[in-house]
């Protein structure tokens, strides 16, 4: 079969044999993209609207006098503390999860410690419905009088991030051949040295991807934050919800805070794209 014929068959299969099909496909993609993107664009736009503009009929899509005043006001009425608190909780939880998770993952991947059962037990904790685990934790923290502290929220996020980190990193470590580590150990590196100096740098991309995912999960987390905090610690998700529950709903300020809370994860998603499939399916599908 000639190359030309193969190309023809491929093009025909891909529906590129006639121009109408191509146009139809792109129209379909465009329509779905609009459905997917417009609701978000609406929120970004609302952040720039004045009070009269988001409560009018017919609704105004593009704000007439866009300025940053609602963003500043949004930060003032809780947004700033929300974003800082979310960052503290997410960053601390990510660091702890990676430190604990990476050595555990290494141990499981290299030495098959605990066999399959241990690995699956760890993963099963990740799958618990958060509402089911938060009730005992709430009572536990109440008993210890650490409700509404960073520690309690970081700890709770970490419980869910550790199994995730272990499972993801296990996959990355298993992809290493292990020969380099053996060589390092022959040269006098201990097991920890082999892990810390050889294996860890080799899985650096996986480590970064796992860290970013953990950060994203904790940043977006709402249920724990709602139940375990009151006034001292206020992650941004709780701040947004609180603003909506208020007497007068300040849509522009809410949208501004929500937009600002979304920017970090949108940036992360661009960096994560290569690992997205793997990260979202707990390594079950390797994209």
């Amino acid at each position: 079969m000639s190359d030309k014929e193969v190309t023809r068959i491929r093009r025909k299969w891909q529906g590129l044999s006639n121009d109408y099909a191509v146009i139809l496909i792109f129209i379909a993609i465009g329509l779905l993209l609009m459905l997917s993107f417009l609701p978000m664009l609406w929120m970004f736009m609302t952040g720039f609207k004045n009070k009269g503009e988001y409560f009018t009929y017919p609704p105004i899509f593009i704000p007439r006098n866009p300025d940053l005043s609602h963003f500043i006001r949004g930060l003032e009425i809780g947004g700033r503390k929300g974003i800082i608190d979310s960052f503290i909780v997410a960053a601390c939880s990510t660091l702890v999860s990676l430190a604990v998770g990476s050595i555990a993952a290494y141990s499981i991947a290299r030495f098959k410690i605990g066999g399959k059962h241990l690995a699956f037990w760890i993963l099963s904790i990740r799958m618990m419905p958060p509402i089911a685990s938060v009730l005992p934790l709430f009572l536990f923290y109440r008993f210890l009088r650490i409700l509404d502290t960073y520690g309690a929220l970081i700890m709770t996020n970490t419980i869910f991030n550790i199994p995730y980190a272990v499972w993801m990193l296990k996959g990355f470590f298993e992809e290493l051949s292990g020969e380099l580590e053996e060589a390092a150990m022959v040269d006098g590196c201990g097991r920890f040295g082999a892990f810390y100096r050889i294996a860890l740098p080799l899985v650096a991309p996986g480590l970064v991807a796992t860290a970013l995912f953990c950060f994203m999960f904790s940043w977006n987390e709402f249920l724990f934050a709602l139940i375990l905090t009151r006034a001292r610690v206020t992650p941004v998700t709780v701040v947004i919800t609180g603003m909506i529950g208020g007497h007068e709903i300040l849509w522009a300020e809410i949208s501004a805070v929500a937009s600002m809370a979304s920017i970090p994860v949108i940036v992360l998603s661009i960096f994560l794209q290569r690992y997205l499939v793997r990260g979202l399916t707990l390594g079950a599908v390797k994209g």
């Binding site: 141990s107 509402i131 934790l137 009572l139 947004i240 909506i244 949208s255 929500a258 399916t281 079950a284």
Partner: protein, 305 residues
């Protein structure tokens, strides 16, 4: 002097030998103390009646909480709502996501950029999703009702305030949020199918439909099962957008199991009963998770089969 050196060496050797165990210890200790202990505690709690707000002491009631649960219409209503999300939400996400994956599974410029745009709803916080849709669903000023009025399809639907459409409204925003997940995973699956396989089928004279039915679907089957199981488990965690959009209302029409559990525990402070709900929820999840894990264990990469 000599003796101490030997001791040191043997001691060092021992630590080295048990290194793998030491590596995993922090993880196991943390998970045991902060997950297993509370779970045992809440199991015990579920056999007690403890109304924290009333000041009544805790008392042992054996299986009364579970018995009450099985006759609680509100609980069954929330389970029914979960079923609706599973039936209409997850299946729509799958169908739209699959279509989108098929559409995007071709080489063209800007494909990565377009994929990134599609993924945005998935990346932003569910709270932000809820906040977003709360504005869109607004009865008088929301853009959705405006479009319906302009197209003369309706005089305006009370999306979040009516018994009939509150749950569909939540399902629509759930579809919006999670379709990208289906899309990206199925797209990854589609890309593992080699072009040669399609070529061979085409040369043999297979129709497009036959190619889809006999090549694409069988190869994707494991991935399809995985995404459906993952989403199936997620349904029971549906909470954030319910809080933002309807708070379970009107009159419990859009109450999910997680939200019902939250109300029982943290609004009515009926701790024993909430623990019982949590346990039932846990059992359902464990069943689904077990299927998922078994699947994970047995699965081989697609191209090896």
């Amino acid at each position: 002097m000599k003796k101490t050196i030997t001791v040191k060496i043997t001691k060092g050797f021992k630590i080295e030998k048990h290194m793998p165990l030491l590596f995993i210890l922090p993880c196991v200790i943390i998970l045991l103390s902060v997950s297993v202990f509370p779970f045992i505690y809440s199991l015990l709690l579920s056999f007690n009646s403890w109304e924290m707000g009333s000041g009544l002491p805790r008392r042992f009631v054996a299986f009364a909480n579970y018995g009450r649960l099985f006759t609680d219409l509100r609980f069954w209503n929330s389970m029914l709502n979960m079923g609706k999300v599973l039936l209409f939400g997850v299946s729509s996400q799958f169908l739209i996501g699959f279509t989108l994956a098929m559409l995007l599974n071709r080489a063209f410029k800007a494909r990565n950029l377009i994929t990134t745009f599609f993924l945005l709803p998935l990346m932003i916080a569910p709270v932000v999703v809820g906040c977003n849709w709360k504005m869109i669903y607004h009865y008088s000023y929301g853009p959705l009702n405006y479009i319906l009025r302009v197209l003369r399809l309706s005089e305006g639907v009370n999306w979040l305030g009516s018994m009939k459409v509150a749950m569909p409204a939540i399902i629509i925003s759930d579809i919006w949020e999670w379709t990208p997940f289906m899309m990206i995973v199925l797209l990854a699956g589609l890309q593992t199918i080699s072009v040669e396989l399609y070529d061979a089928a085409r040369v043999d004279g297979a129709s497009r439909w036959q190619v889809f039915w006999y090549i694409t679907l069988p190869v994707l089957k494991p991935i399809i099962i995985i995404v459906l199981l993952i989403r199936g488990m997620d349904v029971f965690k549906l909470f954030d957008i319910v809080v933002l959009l309807t708070q379970g209302g009107p009159a419990g029409a859009s109450e999910t199991v997680s939200y019902f559990n939250y109300l029982t525990g943290f609004k009515y402070f009926n701790m024993g009963y909430a623990a019982a709900i949590a346990y039932i929820q846990l059992i359902v999840i464990i069943i689904v998770a077990n299927i998922f894990l078994r699947f994970l264990q047995e699965r081989k990469p697609e191209y090896e089969r």
